[in-house]
Symmetry: D2
Subunit: 131 residues, 4 copies
């Protein structure tokens, strides 16, 4: 798991967005991001792409927690509450483990525990081992 964490530090886009991986174990991961001015869209709230980036890192951590290189095939995100400042947390859980196409759900919450967004994603496992 330490090796996986290290690998995911090389996610440059997530790092620039300020995403930090907090925890990862088989089938579960948690990441966070401090929403600041640079994350806002023209409407003054956190851009959908910033939330997606946070969720995507949490997804990648879970999807790859079984040591087999796994990509996101597609993802659906539903925006539930706008957030303009403060920490947001993404908890990813493997809902269905499958040799080729696992299904993962990520819930994003804010500092008050309010649900900000839900992302579901089907992964696609490659034959390559991750390490």
């Amino acid at each position: 798991m330490e090796k996986l964490k290290e690998i995911l530090l090389h996610d440059r886009f997530a790092a620039e967005a300020g995403v930090e991986l907090m925890e990862v174990r088989e089938g579960y991961a948690k990441a966070r991001m401090l929403v600041t001015e640079k994350h806002l869209n023209a409407g003054g709230v956190c851009q959908g792409g910033a939330l997606f980036t946070l969720a995507d890192l949490a997804f990648a951590a879970v999807a790859n927690s079984r040591r087999q290189l796994t990509l996101s095939l597609n993802a659906q995100i539903t925006f539930l509450s706008a957030v303009a400042r403060g920490w947001v947390y993404a908890e990813a859980e493997e809902v269905f483990s499958h040799a080729r196409v696992p299904f993962i759900e990520v819930r994003i919450t804010d500092e008050e525990g309010r649900l900000v967004a839900v992302l579901t994603s089907s992964g696609y496992r490659k034959k390559e081992n991750l390490f």
Copy 2:
């Protein structure tokens, strides 16, 4: 439309990701982003969140092209080809115009015209006028 373009320049997250709005008219918009090292994930290809951010700005341009403040309610993105360098273009089209919940499709292509990703999103129009 010039005013809308100006407003969307205030999308700080999209701007930091290097997204540029190229064109917007009622029901259609085009944006682009130059994929560089900072957009890459741990696998060495453009992060899903970066592509989502590009698509989201194109979505916002189309969704708001009818002068009524419109947010994204949810979005689904399917990743079709990996891209590691060069320009990617997002063309957004309003597939269904609706007073409250318009439906918009965004196709992302690379410099060779290969399809990189498709995003569909349901918008939610607020009562506020945009300007």
Copy 3:
């Protein structure tokens, strides 16, 4: 709730598919369907449309459990295990309650408790009261 159950008995398509609403309370509903030969597709497993119909009734029960007429705006279904015979159960839960656009998740399981499909759907509440 009895009135809501009665109303949903008028879902002709669900009734023909053999869908039965088992339970409904605010924010939760459960339905079931006995998969028989008539539900199968050309591949000999339960057709996606049959599973969708089951999930849709459970969705409708939850979405309307707050007494305001609510439609499905869009839905995403992920197929996880094929099922060819026996009972399948759909449990629907309102993940996010919202005055206009609630978000509901439905999980379909088979007799062994295996996850068959997951559906998520954004509802759209009309101004009309349901009764």
Copy 4:
């Protein structure tokens, strides 16, 4: 293609719903369904599951038009116009052809050409040849 049409006649659930496959060629298919009383939900309009069933058959025709057994991995449907009577048509197009995970879009229209629903689906090709 005649063989594929024959195989799809064995989709019992679609047949009971009145779905007819009109045309299929590599990368394209068209199906139709006459909406009658039996397709309606409690709100008096065509049930989402009925529209999904129609779209699913058109998807299956396109997905399998390349002779390799292909299932739907997941699908997203957006409901745009309610329909209570008359013919609805589903046109399916392979947006992205891929050896393992093709991406297909299905548009459903009514007799007046109004867009009723849009479904997108990622397929999953098995190693088995279809015939």
